[in-house]
Every structure is written in C-alpha cells, then in structure tokens.
C-alpha cells in the first residue's frame, strides 16, 4: 500500500494562483483509496518521467460496444487500488448546460461507485468519470441511466457530438446548435454506442464561423452556421460606435479579408458589397450591435477534420456550402448515412474519413456519395492536369 508515501513534487503543484488538480485529487483521496493511490502513482511518474499505466483491455457495460476506457497500472503490487482504474464517458447535455440538481446526482453516483474524480469535460465533450473497477462499471451505468444519462462514444464509432452555446446565449447563432446536437445524438444512438466503422467519427456544431467548438479542427464532420443572403447593417448603431471613438476603418474595414466593407467617415455610414463578403464574422464580432448575419440562415457542412495521426492533421473542408438546418434535420441525416456507408465500404482499418477522401480523391467521393462539385469546396483548383475522365465523358 502506498497511502503514506510523501508527494513533494505534487505538493509543489498546489502552490500558485491557478486552481490545482493536485488539491482536487487530494480532496477525492479523502474518500477514495484509489484516488489516494493515484497521488502516489503520479508522484512516482514525476520521479520516473514516465506514465505507469498499461495498454488498456476491453471492458464495458451490457448492450454497449464503447463508452468505457479500460485502464490498469503497471505497478499493481504497490497500488492495488489502481489495478483496475477504468474511465467512463458519459454523454454531456447539449452546450454543457446543467442544473445543479443534475450535477449533484452525477456527483453522488460517482462518489459511490468510483474515484470521485472527473474531467468536466473530456476533449470530445463527454463527462469523464476517472477511475473505477471492472465490477463497478455496470452498477455505475445503471444508476446513470436511471438518472437520465447515457454513455458517450469510444472505439470505432460515432463520438459524442458536441456544440457551441448557440441560441442559448449567442446572437450570432445561425441555427439551433443545441437542438440539432440533441436531435442527431438521439438519431444516431446505434452508431454512437456500437462501434462498427473503420475508425472513430466526430461531429461538432458551431452556430457561426467563429467556430467556438473548434469543429473545423476537431470533427470529421463540422457543421458551421452561416447565411446565404447579405449581412444586415444598422447604420444608427454604426454611428454610435463611431461616436464612441471606434476606428471603424482600421479595426473593421481594413481587416475585412475581402475588403467588402466601405466606410463613409463623413456620414458615419457603413455599406457592404454583398457579393464580396465571405461571411467570415469579423465585422460582426467587432460591431455586434450594428451588424448581424443575414436572414436566410443555415449551415455549411465540412468534412475531414482530425489531428495528426496518421497522414497529418486535417482541417475539415467545405462539402455543402449551404444547408437549411431545421428539425428534423433530414437532409443532414441522410447525407451522414450516405457518407458513413461509403466510408464503411471503402475505408481501411483506422482510416479516418478525411484520409480516405484524400486517398481516393474528392472526385470519386463526390460521385459516389452523390454531391455536386462546387468551387466553394476548394481554395483553388488543382495545379496539375492529372484529371480522371469517366467512361461517359469520353468520345467512343
């Protein structure tokens, strides 16, 4: 048992103004022997410059293929309570909104069945319950299910979709991110809970091009709010900004990437050249009282985002420039099913969607999934003439 070990290095991390995770482990350690041993194991890692966890094994709960990450220490003799120290991923509510009642329920269940340590939240968005034993998994899940919570994703499945705060608080939201996230997560329960694909798949929803959930970088499918018509300028409010001393020319117009804004400094009037605006959100961010997205709202669908393993990091790219985004989100769901079918049929093991499209080519992908090619899909056309012609395009 490691209970009495000193943890001088960790203790050092209780100093300083930023709230300390070490303090949190210590708080949990009061009630949980596993959390207590985690202090020792971490101190050991700090001494060794090395993690002390083994390659995970497959553990889970009935009816699910994912949602639990098996974890075992490589020092089970010294830290018997960490012999099994699995995490559970609990699917968060849209936009990470909670009532304290609901949060307290989570705390109570987890204190009972696990280490009492959590991540609020995991990088994908789940509530991460950090550390419990194999035996406790099912009882923990059962109680969560009773409390209205379900598992998130892990393995080669859909991961818990996530979304920005959207219409919950933000005037920029071009569609209802919270609702869409909730709706599609329910639609895709089977995909989320039963891994059956070549690899993981992530969906993230941002209400506008500010992309506050980093969808473009972190999701295989990035749904980013936009509008199809022209942004709306309220010149009374423009005047107010100008009179308050804002340098509109320099801060707003000169930084518009397409130079689509003209400021008349004499009358304090701002106009936009509609066909030049690329809807980047900059001017709206700078003058939220004076400029608004247009009226014909919806979202762009981008595909392919992921981090660096294997073929480099990819950011998602435009695949549908504009889609109305309203319940029941049928067009979006249909597209997802088509894409998943295609990926499932063509992808190699552990090949993310973006890597597959890169490998076989966008042309092939578009044809086989049935999407029309549009110039919005590319920054610029190809610099090589290596075109593939289709049977029917050739003179016989």
């Amino acid at each position: 048992m490691a209970e009495d070990k000193k943890t001088p290095q960790l203790d050092e991390l209780e100093k300083g103004p930023w709230p300390s995770f070490v303090t949190e482990i210590k708080r949990a350690a009061v009630k949980s022997p596993a959390a207590n041993e985690l202090l020792g194991l971490m101190e050991r890692s700090y001494e060794d410059n090395k993690g002390h966890w083994k390659h995970g094994g497959i553990v889970g709960v009935r009816g699910y293929g994912g949602g639990v990450i098996g974890r075992y220490t490589d020092l089970p003799e010294e830290y018997p309570n960490l012999k099994e120290f699995h995490t559970m991923r609990i699917n968060q509510p849209s936009g990470w909104f909670y009532s304290t009642k609901s949060l307290r329920e989570i705390c109570d269940i987890w204190e009972k069945h696990g280490s009492g340590l959590t991540n609020m939240h995991g990088s994908t968005g789940d509530i991460i319950l950090l550390g419990t034993t194999t035996d406790e998994l099912q009882p923990t899940f059962d109680e969560f299910s009773d409390a209205g919570y379900d598992l998130g994703g892990s393995g080669s499945d859909l991961r818990s979709p996530s979304c920005c705060v959207g219409p919950g608080r933000c005037e920029f939201a071009c569609y209802d991110t919270l609702d869409m996230c909730y709706d599609i997560t329910n639609e895709f329960q089977d995909e989320l809970h039963r891994p059956m694909w070549p690899y993981k798949f992530k969906i993230k929803m941002s209400g506008c091009a500010n992309d506050c959930v980093a969808a473009i970088a972190r999701a295989d499918c990035s749904v980013i709010g936009t509008w199809r018509d022209t942004l709306i300028i309220n010149n009374d409010e423009v005047k107010a900004y100008a009179e308050s001393g804002m340098n509109i020319q320099r801060l707003v117009c000169d930084k518009c990437p397409t130079r689509a804004l003209e400021f008349d400094a004499i009358n304090n009037e701002l106009t936009v050249i509609p066909e030049d605006c690329s809807r980047c959100m900059h001017c709206i961010n700078m003058m939220p009282k004076a400029i608004q997205p247009g009226k014909e709202k919806g979202a762009s669908i981008l595909l392919g985002g992921k981090s660096t393993i294997v073929k480099s990091a990819f950011m998602s790219w435009v695949i549908v420039p504009f889609m109305k985004m309203e319940p029941p989100y049928t067009e979006f769901k249909d597209l997802m099913y088509r894409i998943w079918d295609w990926w499932d049929e063509n992808g190699k093991t552990r090949e993310r969607l973006g890597e597959l499209i890169y490998r076989v080519g966008m042309g092939t992908f578009l044809r086989e999934v049935g999407l029309p090619p549009v110039p919005q899909m590319v920054f610029r056309p190809r610099a090589n003439p290596y075109v593939f012609w289709q049977e029917e395009e050739i003179n016989k």
Binding site: P19, M42, Y46, G95, R218, R350
Partner: protein, 352 residues
C-alpha cells in the same frame, strides 16, 4: 436492466429561466470586463455570464462547491465551456459582483473572456493514459500559474488559445492553437517480441506505421524496425503494447505555434513546430513555462491590435519570428512529411 440508448439529458431542462425565455432571441452582447459578458435580448432582458477557470480534473466536491455558488446566485444553473471553463449565468445584475467576489474567495479565477488567455485545453497525461510522453495536468498548472495575469486581463492583442496534448494522438487537438504544448517521443520503440509472438495482428501493426518503418519478420513471428525511418509517432504503440515507446530519458515536449480555428479575418490554420524538444522536468517544467512565456511576451510586444499569434507571425514572416523570439531554427522545423513541399520557400523574396 437499465435502459440503454436513452441519449443525453434534454438540454432544455438544464437551461436557466432567463435563457429559456429568451432562447434564440439575443440581440447583442458586450464584453463588460475580464470574465464578464452581458447579453441583451430582444425582450430587453439581460443575461450576465461570469466565466471562471477550472483545473478540469476536479473532484465531485469541487462540483458541489460550484453548484452551491450557482444555487446562491444563478437560480441553480450553470454551464461549462468548450475550453473547460465554468460559466455562471444570471439575469439579475445585482448578483454579478457578489458572485465574482464569492468566486475569488473560493480561489476560482475570473477571466478568460475577450482578448485574454483562456483555459488550456488538455488531456490525461500520466493521470490516466498509457501512451503519454509527458504529463498534461502538471504542465497546464505550471503554465497557467506562470501566465495567470493574462487570464484576468483582456487587453491582449487578441484571444490567446493554448492547448496541450501528451502524445501525438493529440487528444487536446493542439494542431490549431495559438500555442500548442505537445508531448513527444524521440526514440524508436523497443519491440517486445514475446507479446507479438502471442498473436498480435502483425499485418495491421505493419500497416499502422506512417513511414513504413515496420516490416514483418516472419522468421521470428514478429516485426523488425528500420530505425532510420521511424519518427517516433507512437502509432504502432497505440496498436500494440509490444511497441514500447516510453523513454524517460528522451521523452519531452515540443512547442508549436500560430494555429487558429475561427474563420474571422483569416482562414483557420495549423500550429507549426518552432521548438522541437524541451525536457520533462517535473513538477514545474521550467523550460516549458519559460518558452511559452517568451513567445507570449514577444507576441504582446510586437503584434498589432487584433492579431492572433499566427496572424502576427504570418505578417512579419516566420524568419523574423525566429529572430525576434530568439529561438534557434533547426532542420527539425523543416517539414519532411507528405505535404512538406507546400511549406518550402518557393520564392526569392524573404527577410533576414
């Protein structure tokens, strides 16, 4: 048996009253001061958001603490942000300052809004993962302690988004961050033949290597490594525990900078490697905190208002950045992977 596939709880039941009443009816917002946003609805209702830092790795007691605050000041509701901060939401202006005071009293930093440093998105590290090249929570704590003032100030040139991932899997999605702190291995995996001989899937292991460094070795029912082709990504270790890549003497941290995600002004962009290696020196990783601070300070000193780190560097040129930041440039910074060619300077125009 418990119900399965019930999906997440309905978000609508978790919305505070002021939001329920003004859902989708927000008119504009103001960034009142660091950590405080004010949103105004078409109805005239006001919503105050108080943003508060969190270590993310928290105990249930921590959650109970913030629940107590939310009960007292916010009708019993709160939310978390996409960067793991806590947001207290209230429609009642009179609650704002008392709440801020209460947070401070509890040691919860208020800030992270507007042009400030927000929380560091990060990962498991030595706390829970099997592939880390470094710890995550420890470095994050050390860096946030060091840069603490910038969380509470919103007069930086632009938002500052730092992320940390403890291995190349990049669960912290560091690849598009203003500053990315990344755990890296630097030596080839040690092959544990006895594990492979027990029946790991050799073909999929061979296929997992991005550079083709792993070859089947049918004689030994194992695999062999072309050392010079390995760039220590660890993907083979993710596939199989037989490819042990931990090396306490050589694992450490790389720094990448200049990424961004938003589409505002400039397109989203990747972070780029400027420091290939710093040693693991727990508990406070002084080399790492110093390197990050240096980059932040050079940016503060030289960037124009409105310029994210990457926007600033792209304006002045990466060659100038290395000079200004006094960071040695090495062959390690030059890409030699699939898309390398697009980074080569195919132009005779450059600065010194």
């Amino acid at each position: 048996m418990a119900k399965i596939d019930i999906g997440p709880p309905d978000y609508k039941e978790n919305l505070p009253p002021v939001i329920r009443e003004n859902y989708g009816q927000w008119k504009y917002h103001e960034k009142v001061k660091p950590g405080l946003l004010k949103h105004v609805a078409n109805s005239g209702d006001e919503l105050y958001t108080i943003r508060v830092g969190s270590p993310r790795l928290v105990s249930v007691d921590f959650i109970r603490d913030i629940c107590a605050l939310a009960d007292e000041y916010c009708d019993g509701y709160l939310r978390f942000t996409s960067r793991n901060n806590i947001e207290f939401l209230t429609g009642d202006a009179s609650k704002v300052e008392p709440l801020i005071e209460a947070c401070k009293a509890k040691g919860l930093p208020v800030g992270g809004t507007g042009n400030s440093l927000s929380n560091i998105v990060h990962t498991q590290g030595w706390i829970h993962c099997h592939t880390p090249a470094t710890d995550a929570s420890g470095i994050v704590k050390a860096v946030m302690d060091d840069l603490y003032e910038y969380f509470g100030r919103d007069d930086l040139p632009a938002k500052l988004r730092v992320a940390m991932a403890c291995c190349l899997n990049m669960c912290g999605a560091v690849h598009c961050s203003d500053i990315a702190i990344l755990g890296v291995h630097r030596t080839v995996p040690t092959i544990k033949h006895e594990i492979l001989q027990k029946g790991a899937e050799i073909p999929s292991l061979v296929a997992s290597c991005p550079t083709g460094a792993i070859r089947p070795d049918p004689k030994n029912k194992s695999v062999a490594l072309k050392d010079e082709k390995c760039m220590y990504c660890g993907n083979c270790f993710t596939m199989s525990p037989a490819m042990d890549i931990m090396d306490p003497k050589n694992d450490g941290v790389a720094i990448m900078i200049g990424g961004k995600v938003s589409n505002a002004r400039t397109a989203p962009s990747f972070s780029r490697l400027v420091i290939p290696y710093l040693p693991n020196n727990p508990p406070r990783w002084p080399e790492v905190t110093e390197a990050v601070r240096n980059i932040v300070e050079v940016w503060l000193k030289n960037a124009r208002s409105g310029e994210r780190v990457g926007e600033w560097v792209e304006r002045i040129g990466w060659e100038r950045f290395f000079t200004l930041a006094d960071i040695p440039f090495s062959d390690k910074c030059i890409d030699d992977y699939i898309f390398s060619r697009e980074t080569f300077r195919t132009s005779a125009a450059f600065k010194y």
